[in-house]
């Protein structure tokens, strides 16, 4: 094997790993607006993309950035933008456009404390609900939450694959701490990666329907210049792509678009379940908080407590079935998160009937293993 065909061990900062993974995934267009704690992604992309024939552009704001990303993607190029809370808010309308018009794109949100300008340099997990519900109307989006630099790398590649395959925006929620953490990553050889490109339309031009509903959930995309001359719009459209408000046409189109992810759970779901089989106290945690939880659960087990950890890697759509089975023996579910309590509501819905305990922090500090361990102990003592 030649040297380039081998896995390389590299020390990488999380944000840099994200940029390198994007390039490895085939991203050739980046548009962004600087914001702490995400800026290293833009800076790295500005250096990397020109070397592979891609384009980097710093736009006038985050709305323009996602707009340019969608324009590039409509043109057929894999495209990404990165931001943090305030910028993520600004992107929401155009993210909705990507959902409705089914334009693949990857949006990285390196989370910081909020609301508003909040705590620019402090960690937070305050955007998990915004990632799901941030744009108006009924929405469809995938959100991934890596818990290490290595997972930032693998999940960023996966984000591009899912986005291309399902024609849906994919948000990667990165904790500020992991974004700025330097860890060793086994960077796979480019040849070893599985990369997925969207399906391109290749059927006859005159009968082509860009949004055909024909059993295959994800219609192929017409490449501009290939002769299809189709219409792309944020208005509700029929199979021909043209605007309509006819309920007879709107209902099946909305069903297809909104149900797309549910029908592809096999591709979308991703989670980790540790010691869940007999767990009486189940911790549900994601991102950096899951790392603390992993340690806390191990320590609790060492002390003879039946604790387990369920960690969603795909946060949205939420891995309901998986959590339900992981929580089968749970007497209490503990949800530690670095916000005032967001995912706990989803967990409460999925684990209806099981008491939910919360552990929250909104002071810009991380939740420690000790805090979680202590709460597991307290919960066990009260059973």
């Amino acid at each position: 094997m030649s040297a380039s065909a081998q896995t390389q061990m590299r020390n990488l900062q999380g944000n840099h790993a994200c940029a390198l993974a994007a390039v490895a995934a085939g991203c050739r267009f980046y548009a962004g607006y600087p914001i702490t704690p995400s800026s290293e992604i833009a800076e790295r992309m500005a250096g990397e993309l020109p070397q592979v024939g891609g384009v980097f552009i710093q736009m006038e704001d985050e709305i323009a950035s996602i707009g340019a990303v969608l324009g590039a993607s409509i043109g057929g190029v894999k495209a990404m933008t990165a931001t943090s809370g305030p910028g993520f808010s600004l992107k929401q309308e155009n993210l909705g456009y990507a959902m409705g018009a089914e334009i693949p794109c990857v949006v990285i949100d390196v989370m910081r404390g909020g609301p508003s300008t909040g705590m620019p340099t402090r960690p937070s997990q305050g955007d998990v609900m915004q990632a799901r519900w941030g744009s108006h109307g009924d929405t469809v989006v995938i959100a991934l939450v890596p818990d290490s630099v290595a997972e930032i790398y693998s999940q960023t590649i996966r984000a591009f694959n899912l986005s291309e395959q399902l024609r849906v925006p994919v948000v990667v929620l990165i904790d500020e701490i992991i974004g700025h953490l330097v860890e060793t990553v086994a960077v796979p050889a480019p040849e070893s990666l599985t990369l997925i490109d969207r399906k391109w339309a290749d059927s006859p031009v005159d009968t082509f329907k860009p949004y055909a509903i024909n059993g295959d959930d994800v219609p192929p995309m017409p490449r501009p210049g290939a002769g299809y001359r189709t219409h792309t719009t944020g208005l509700t459209h029929g199979e021909d792509g043209f605007p309509t408000q006819d309920p007879v046409l709107v209902a099946p189109m909305m069903d297809r678009i909104l149900g797309k992810l549910e029908r592809h759970r096999d591709l979308v779901d991703c989670f980790e379940a540790i010691d869940c089989e007999d767990a009486e106290i189940l911790v549900v945690a994601y991102g950096i908080t899951a790392r603390a939880a992993r340690r806390a659960v191990r320590r609790a087990r060492e002390q003879g407590l039946r604790a387990g950890l369920f960690r969603p890697v795909t946060l949205w759509p939420f891995p309901e079935q998986a959590l339900r089975s992981a929580a089968a023996s749970a007497k209490t579910v503990l949800v530690p998160e670095m916000n005032a309590g967001q995912l706990c509501w989803e967990v409460e819905r999925v684990c209806a009937g099981t008491p939910i305990a919360r552990l929250n922090r909104v002071d810009g500090e991380v939740i420690t293993p000790q805090q979680i361990e202590q709460q597991i102990m307290d919960l066990a003592a009260h059973e």
């Binding site: 267009f29 020109p50 384009v55 707009g67 495209a79 501009p224 210049g225 001359r229 219409h231």
Partner: protein
């Protein structure tokens, strides 16, 4: 081909006639502007397969859907942002933006000035009807003083934007304005804009007969358009010299033109040059 020459242009060849009847009001100036644009594209022999029309939200933005080409109807105010990404990703496409006075100068104003500054090879067509037509006739950044709109029931008191001065000041390398009555001149202006390498901005003085015209008693569309004719200072008559004498009037024609490096080509050349130096340095 000059405008005086006969043209075999047939607008129906370029339209998605199966979408008819279209939704524009009778007499709306936006249709005339679209006709002139298609006429220019015809004369320049630009392939409809290679054209991309990116439009914003408004009656102006809705016109693009009727053209049988690659059409992208995006979010309000953002067509220039989408077009920037599309053109950078696909320099082989001819990318034209159709926008309105509200879409381009109010919600999209920031994107306009930065598109002008960058000088990417886009053609931006702003259909200025002095009003928010689509939403029922509210005031816009170009509504003339004392005009009535649904949000200026006592007449408009706000200062008015001169879009062409704004675009030129921000760096657009071709700027022009025309009224719809002079369709051949408008077509020629579009030809100049489409042929120009860099960011070109064309303001079309359009008319919203149904809403703005009615509200202000401006008569039918013919009357509105004729009034526009007496309210312009054509470039060919020396619109700059004329300015002191007809201060409230619109100068028309090509108002600014300069050769500046085109953003996309410049990006690619700059990068090739820098990478070459970097490789040399590494040896």
């Amino acid at each position: 081909m000059s405008s005086a020459e006969h043209s075999d242009f047939e607008i129906r060849d370029y339209l998605r006639t199966d979408l008819f009847p279209h939704f524009m009001c009778p007499g709306c100036g936006h249709g005339i502007a679209l006709r002139a644009l298609l006429w220019a594209l015809h004369e320049l022999d630009i392939s409809m397969d290679k054209l991309a029309l990116v439009s914003g939200i408004g009656c102006s933005g809705r016109t693009a859907a009727y053209v049988d080409t690659n059409t992208m109807h995006v979010t309000h105010g953002r067509p220039l942002a989408f077009a920037t990404g599309l053109k950078l990703a696909r320099p082989d496409l001819e990318v034209v933006v159709i926008t309105g006075d509200g879409d381009c100068l109010a919600i999209g104003g920031n994107h306009l000035i930065h598109a002008c500054r960058r000088n990417l090879d886009l053609t931006c067509v702003m259909l200025n009807n002095e009003v928010y037509g689509m939403t029922g006739g509210q005031v816009s950044p170009t509504t003339s003083n004392d005009r009535f709109t649904t949000t200026t029931p006592l007449g408009n008191h706000e200062p008015v934007f001169d879009a062409c001065e704004l675009a030129a000041a921000a760096g657009a390398s071709l700027v022009g304005r025309e009224i719809t009555l002079q369709t051949p001149s408008l077509k020629d202006l579009f030809r100049a804009a489409l042929s120009h390498r860099g960011f070109s901005f064309v303001e079309v003085i359009s008319d919203c007969t149904e809403i703005f015209g009615r509200k202000n008693d401006l008569g039918n569309s013919t009357e509105m358009i004729l009034k526009q004719k007496s309210a312009i200072r054509p470039e060919s008559y020396g619109n700059v010299v004329d300015q002191p004498f007809r201060p409230g009037n619109w100068s028309t024609g090509i108002l600014a033109r300069n050769e500046r490096p085109e953003y996309g080509a410049n990006y690619r050349e700059h990068i090739v040059a820098k990478l070459a130096v970097a490789v040399k340095g590494r040896r």
